[in-house]
């Protein structure tokens, strides 16, 4: 059983290490970075949480771990969306300069 847990945790850690490369890629704008960062965060915590839950079997630890995993699964993309939205509304590093019309400027 713990072998399975270690495999799952290994996958999670591998994702995280690969994700760091995505953050520091030159020539990519902010929106690419936040997309990568949010993904590796959620995936990393998810796999590590499940790995630890498997490792500890049925216990209070697994229950709390399940709660944390669900919470992070919901909250992390939500926060990344808000940060990206506040960046795009302030016109930072706007993606396509061709669409100069700022659609979101209208609804206020």
């Amino acid at each position: 059983m713990s072998i399975l847990a270690y495999i799952v945790m290994g996958i999670g850690v591998a994702f995280m290490l690969l994700g760091v490369i995505g953050i520091f890629k030159p020539g990519k704008d902010f929106y690419y970075r936040i997309l990568v960062a949010c993904k590796i965060d959620t995936v990393g915590l998810l796999t590590l949480g499940i790995g630890l839950a498997i490792y500890h079997g049925i216990s209070f630890f697994t229950g709390k771990m399940f709660l944390i995993v669900i919470m992070i699964l919901v909250l992390n993309p939500f926060v990344a969306h808000i940060v990206a939205r506040s960046a795009s509304r302030s016109g930072y590093d706007s993606i396509g300069d061709s669409t100069d019309v700022d659609e979101s400027a209208g609804e206020k």
């Binding site: 850690v13 630890l52 209070f60 630890f61 939205r85 506040s86």
Partner: protein, 90 residues
């Protein structure tokens, strides 16, 4: 398990570099968000290694407060015209 713990600690460094280098406020905010989620993982791993299940409550609370803090900082910086610096709220 200790190896993963060490890797997580080692992972904090690039995120701190991201916060320091980040050209704009939102990059720094992104770095802070990443660091806080890495700290959550460190708390979880620490509580798993030393068999202290009550530490997970701190991880839950820290996750919530970290996210709420990031949300309000992001909202504070939104609707600002970056050319004029501290533009007034539209």
């Amino acid at each position: 398990m200790y190896v993963i713990f060490a890797i997580m600690l080692g992972l904090l460094v690039p995120y701190c570099i991201r916060v320091a280098v980040g050209p704009s406020v939102w990059d720094r905010l992104l770095g802070v968000n990443l660091i806080s989620s890495k700290i959550i993982i460190i708390i979880i791993l620490y509580s798993s290694l030393n068999d202290l299940p009550f530490l997970l409550d701190f991880a839950i609370f820290y996750a919530l407060s970290g996210f709420i803090g990031t949300i309000f900082i992001a909202l504070f910086f939104s609707d600002r015209d970056t050319k004029k610096g501290l533009g007034d709220r539209k």
